[in-house]
């Protein structure tokens, strides 16, 4: 009888309130059981959503890092200032990529014509209003390459400063 009371959570001691609640919830879940599928089905859009969420996460972390560099006054040094610019550019790139992926869903394949080749492929803007924005957004390297360049210059500046300090015997 004691066992049953413990399982059902009917146990009115003020010292065991939390345990009683947990036991009650577990009991409720057990009683409300249905088919227990071990694997969940992942339909095709899930990959894109995961990718987009990753872009959003990436963008958010870059914003956070740029903020931290600012509030912690790292940006007084040239190296960290360049890294902060790099973060902001990567933030911008993530927004660009996020938008590109999203708009890409609304651009039909007919917009792009021609045989595969550097100069043979064409875009027909009249087919969709999203065609040209999509093409422009696909020029994302114009953002991410400067971002990585700023990062490179930033780290290099920090390194040169350290080398100069070591050379000065600091």
């Amino acid at each position: 009888m004691t066992f049953v009371r413990r399982i059902t959570g009917v146990f009115f001691s003020p010292h065991t309130g939390r345990r009683t609640l947990t036991t009650s919830l577990v009991t409720a879940l057990l009683l409300a059981g249905d088919h227990a599928w071990a694997l969940q089905v992942h339909p095709p859009p899930e990959g894109l959503i995961a990718h987009q969420l990753a872009h959003a996460f990436f963008a958010a972390t870059m914003a956070v890092l740029a903020y931290w560099l600012q509030v912690n006054r790292f940006v007084r040094e040239r190296g960290w200032r360049l890294i902060q610019i790099s973060c902001l550019l990567l933030l911008l790139w993530n927004i660009d990529a996020f938008a590109g992926h999203w708009i890409g869903l609304y651009v039909p394949n007919e917009v792009f014509v021609g045989e595969p080749g550097l100069f043979s492929r064409m875009v027909i803007p009249g087919q969709s209003v999203w065609a040209m924005p999509y093409v422009i957004l696909r020029l994302d390297h114009l953002i991410c390459v400067p971002a990585i360049l700023c990062l490179l210059l930033g780290i290099r500046a920090l390194y040169l400063k350290v080398v100069a300090e070591d050379g000065a015997g600091v």
């Binding site: 990959g47 870059m62 803007p125 020029l139 780290i155 390194y159």
Partner: protein, 498 residues
């Protein structure tokens, strides 16, 4: 329908992807160099990890893009479409990794700041320790110099002292002794005493040592105690000893340090001065008495001789007056002796050969001494300088001493006569005997007038007093040393003449 070429997009995509790989590898390189330059800086470690993740992101994405373009141009669009989900998934993964690493920045920089602060504190503390160490070192050096100077100063005081300074342990064993101390105790070097001998061994009287130690234990010090030491060669030395406990703290082995001043010579001079003073007083009294008695004696003698001239030589009166005259003559002799003692008698000084005087006396007394089984041993300095004096009086002194020596010997014995020169320009005459000796308390009185140990009637007690007066009159000194049962030594010092 009008279209636009996608060539710019493709070119930007391909060139941009290639640049991404190159630039991210550059980031990785500098991040690596940075970390290698400052391996202890956790921020650079973080930057390396961040660069590594970004490089992975760049490579993953750029390789995918380039592969997509190449496969598209090659007409393998279906292959690219098959690879596209994997490429996208890897890209997603790299975004998450980069983002995740980024979020550690704040924690890392806090840790790094803490480490840097700790490092600064450590450096500050280290500098402080170094400064203290330097200060301490210089303090120790200064103190060592002071101690060294002090040690030199006190060592010089210790070594240069003319008095004996010593340290003994609780058993009285010498722990340290200065050169003057070693010399006082008859040793050439302190090394012969320190760690080898104890203070007790130098005390002539064991009771003195025990009493001294007892007082040290009770009071902790002893001040200006006159003690009799016996040196290595057996000579007795009178010292003024002050001692105190070295380490009165509990649980520390006790020891004593002390200073001993040799006052033998001073004491001797004091005794001589006292004696001279006493003798001077006695001399004045004696001279006064002698002068006062001399005149009545002269009258007694004169009248006695007048009466004798008028008396029948066979009468009783003649014999009686003759007795009066004889006794008056005795009195006159005593008075003359007293005057000699008091230096009131005339002295005719000439060059005196002391050796010759002694030879004359020895020759005179030899037979007498021989019959009394007394051996006379003479060691006369062959080049003894002469003295200025009265030959007869000097002979009288020697005669007195030799007669006294003979009388001191019962049965057979030895009388020694020795002359020698001293560095002080004086000569020394020593007359010793192997007789009964004089008790210590009487040696001070032997030169006093009328002092005698002989039976009544055998001596007037003026012999040594007269000798004392004569020697003093010649600018010399006469000393006596005696030990009961061993004999007596009279030492005369006289200034050598030109």
């Amino acid at each position: 329908m009008e279209g636009y070429s996608l060539a710019p997009v493709v070119l930007v995509d391909c060139i941009g992807s290639a640049l991404m790989i190159v630039l991210s590898c550059g980031c990785l390189r500098f991040a690596f160099l940075l970390r290698r330059a400052r391996p202890a800086n956790v921020l650079w470690t973080y930057l390396l990890a961040f660069s590594l993740a970004l490089t992975a992101f760049s490579v993953s994405r750029s390789v995918g893009h380039i592969a997509g373009q190449v496969l598209g141009f090659a007409g393998k669009g279906d292959v690219w479409r098959a690879l596209l989900p994997y490429s996208g998934a890897v890209n997603t993964l790299t975004f998450m990794v980069v983002g995740s690493i980024t979020l550690f920045f704040q924690r890392v920089q806090i840790i790094n700041r803490g480490i840097l602060n700790d490092q600064k504190e450590l450096e500050k503390a280290s500098a402080e320790v170094m400064r203290l160490n330097r200060d301490l070192q210089s303090l120790v050096e200064a103190r060592t110099r002071q101690l060294s100077a002090s040690e030199v100063r006190y060592r010089a005081l210790f070594e240069g002292s003319m008095d004996m300074i010593f340290i003994v342990d609780h058993l009285g064993r010498f722990e340290d002794l200065n050169q003057a101390g070693a010399s006082t105790l008859g040793h050439e070097s302190p090394d012969a005493v320190v760690g080898v001998m104890s203070l007790k061994e130098f005390f002539a009287k064991n009771d003195d040592y025990e009493r001294l130690m007892q007082e040290l234990r009770v009071y902790g010090f002893v001040r200006d105690r006159e003690c009799l030491f016996r040196s290595r060669d057996g000579e007795e030395i009178l010292v003024l000893l002050s001692m105190s406990v070295k380490a009165p703290e509990p649980n520390v082995t006790r020891g004593y340090h002390g200073i001993a001043k040799d006052i033998t010579a001073r004491k001797q001079i004091e005794r001589q001065l006292q004696r001279a003073d006493r003798m001077a007083s006695l001399g004045q009294i004696s001279a006064g008495i002698a002068h006062e008695i001399n005149n009545p004696l002269g009258i007694i003698l004169g009248y006695s001789q007048l009466i004798l001239r008028g008396c029948d030589k066979n009468s009783q009166d003649y014999e009686d007056v003759q007795t009066i005259e004889r006794q008056a003559q005795n009195c006159k002799r005593i008075v003359e002796d007293l005057l000699k003692f008091a230096r009131s008698a005339d002295t005719r000084k000439t060059v005196v050969d002391v050796n010759q005087c002694l030879r004359d006396l020895v020759e005179l007394l030899a037979r007498q001494f021989e019959s009394a089984n007394i051996t006379l041993e003479t060691r006369l300095h062959p080049k003894l300088p002469p003295v200025m004096g009265d030959t007869e009086k000097i002979k009288q002194v020697f005669m007195n001493l030799l007669v006294n020596a003979k009388q001191a010997i019962t049965g057979s014995g030895l009388i020694g006569i020795e002359t020698t020169t001293l560095e002080t320009g004086r000569i020394r005459i020593t007359i010793s005997d192997s007789g009964a000796g004089i008790p210590e308390d009487l040696t001070e009185k032997v030169f006093d007038p009328f002092f005698t140990t002989k039976p009544v009637g055998e001596g007037t007690g003026l012999g040594l007093s007269v000798s004392y007066g004569i020697i003093r009159d010649h600018g010399g000194t006469i000393e006596v040393k005696s030990e009961v049962g061993k004999g007596t030594v009279f030492t005369i010092q006289l200034p050598a003449g030109d």
